[in-house]
């Protein structure tokens, strides 16, 4: 996309958001009253960032830029605190979204011959319907099985001959585990590729999923505030997630200043062609880096690295920034251990404590206490190495850490309870 085209897209979004009074005032404060006031990217960068809080304040429909008669669908993101954030789509928006997802699917070789098991939740969450409409746009068969009910997932996967699986990476691992338990062999399945997203994961987890399910695993990214899944998606080259051309990405540091290309920071996104719920400079809270270029798959534009963590996921333990993904990386690097873990942060007196529960399996279990202690110790050393924090590892029995059918719960922070 040329510079001029980008500015044109940005002006279009500015024109669209000005229809919402809240934005009109916000933009007037920085001297932008008309789309033509965006003469350069410098003008664009004057626009204040949009936060989830802005959406909450305008709950439910305050930021919609089209009259309600043109809005044909809403989605909402789960509000763990307070009200959910609601987004609206016009008919054009739904079509655009389907085309974007279909494009991503096409890049990883999905065709009208494929059978896609959409095990993301259907409903207010964008995951299920986002992938579903993309499949239909492409002509592939979408199985709207939604999340959960693992036994039925396995049965349908085998009986319907699913070739593509869409779900969270932690649920993919859980399905792999359940397949082994159900005694369903790989040969009975036609599964070829998995599209996983909605939570941060690591390369080791990808390898684990790929080897256990015998498939290629690609990452998909999106959020309802921007559109839903498909904002960016990996191709089979696996060198990052290609950001669709209908979105303009920025990476900012903690103070909100742009960082050089390739540097990790918070991803901030602007929609370029959305009507019902256009967004300007939305803070995703996701940490990644971006680069510009051409990929062999045909994508030309911005590519982002896999989201390593969310700004929100970050724990501050004894003043050190800790991301659950770092703990996972450490556990998987020891080998023979499954990536089922639970981080427990607590406070004894004034000192934060970090404990990690790790499940023992038949491979890592030995009869001799000495060797179990060695295993425990090597896990502690590895985690300490990566985090720079002392940690206590506790070996627990398999399945004792709760499995999730959606986003995995990796952290229990008991310090907050103590503050109450």
């Amino acid at each position: 996309m040329s510079h001029e085209e980008l500015l044109k897209g940005l002006r279009k979004t500015v024109e669209q958001v000005l229809k919402a009074p809240y934005y009109k005032k916000k933009l007037a404060d920085v001297g932008i009253d008309y789309p033509q006031d965006i003469r350069s990217l410098d003008d664009f960068w004057k626009i204040p960032l949009t936060e989830k809080e802005d959406l909450r304040q305008n709950y439910p429909f305050g930021l919609f830029a089209e009259p309600m008669e043109r809005i044909v669908r809403v989605h909402a993101s789960s509000g763990t605190t307070g009200k959910p954030t609601v987004v609206g789509y016009t008919r054009d928006d739904i079509q655009l979204w389907a085309k974007i997802v279909a494009n991503g699917l096409r890049r990883i070789g999905v065709t009208s011959n494929d059978v896609v098991q959409v095990a993301y939740g259907y409903g207010l969450f964008t995951g299920g319907m986002g992938l579903h409409y993309g499949c239909e746009e492409l002509g592939a068969l979408a199985i709207p099985i939604s999340g959960g009910n693992t036994q039925r997932q396995l049965m349908i996967m085998r009986d319907f001959g699913s070739t593509v699986l869409c779900c969270t990476p932690s649920y993919a691992l859980y399905l792999a585990e359940s397949l082994e338990e159900a005694g369903i062999s790989r040969d009975e399945l036609k599964l070829r590729v998995g599209i996983f997203g909605a939570e941060p994961w690591t390369d080791q987890m990808r390898e684990e999923i790929e080897s256990r399910l015998g498939i290629r695993a690609v990452d998909i990214y999106g959020l309802s505030e921007i559109m839903g899944p498909g904002v960016s998606m990996e191709c089979l080259k696996g060198e990052g997630l290609h950001i669709d051309e209908h979105f303009y990405p920025e990476i900012l540091d903690k103070e909100g200043n742009p960082v050089p290309e390739g540097t990790v920071g918070e991803l901030v996104l602007t929609s370029l062609d959305k009507k019902g719920f256009p967004v300007l400079r939305y803070r995703t809270k996701d940490l990644t880096s971006i680069s510009y270029g051409q990929c062999v798959c045909g994508h030309h534009g911005w590519t982002m690295k896999r989201v390593s963590a969310r700004v929100d996921d970050m724990l501050i333990i004894r003043g050190v920034n800790v991301f659950p993904s770092q703990v996972e990386e450490a556990i998987l690097s020891v080998g023979g251990i499954e990536p089922h873990y639970l981080i427990i942060v607590d406070r004894e007196g004034t000192l934060d404590t970090l404990e990690v529960l790790v499940e023992v399996n038949t491979d890592s279990f030995t009869d001799e206490i000495r060797q179990l202690e060695q295993l425990q110790e090597s896990l502690e050393v590895k985690i300490e190495d990566i985090l720079g924090l002392s940690v206590k590892v506790r070996l627990v029995e398999p399945k004792s850490i709760t499995r999730s059918e959606g986003k995995a719960k990796r952290v229990i922070d008991k310090r907050q309870e103590k503050l109450l």
Partner: protein, 130 residues
């Protein structure tokens, strides 16, 4: 002989749970030892048909391992165990752990031995005619 080793989380009632499972499976425990640390324990038992019991326990989500051990009869008299151990040590056998039980039928003491090197133990047993 194969000993059954079971990983036990240090949770209230966990040992009883596992013993209940064994009872349900109709398994008679002939000898038992429990090694424990602060966070977890390892239950070691001698049972009939350990391999079958192991796979049944796995189905019930227990972490199980079969470990080769040696069962020796020793005289149920002062110095009986020391006598046998001295001979084994002379042959270069290193004991990792052991536990004893008494066979009711003939009132004979038996010990379960886990050794570091199976080959050395095998040779020692043959030499000593045990």
């Amino acid at each position: 002989m194969l000993q059954l080793s079971i990983f036990l989380e240090n949770a209230k009632g966990r040992l009883a749970q596992v013993l209940n499972i064994l009872a349900e499976l109709g398994v008679n425990i002939r000898a038992l030892s429990l090694a424990d640390t602060k966070d977890y324990g390892v239950l070691r038992i001698i049972v009939e048909d350990a391999e079958k019991v192991a796979s049944e326990l796995k189905e019930r989500n227990c972490v199980v391992k079969l470990t080769p051990v040696w069962v020796l009869k020793v005289a149920d008299a002062t110095g009986g165990l020391a006598d046998v151990l001295n001979k084994l040590v002379d042959q270069g056998v290193i004991v990792e752990y052991m536990y004893a039980f008494v066979e009711k039928a003939n009132e004979q003491a038996q010990v379960v031995l886990r050794v570091r090197d199976e080959e050395i133990m095998k040779i020692a047993m043959e030499k000593l005619g045990l």
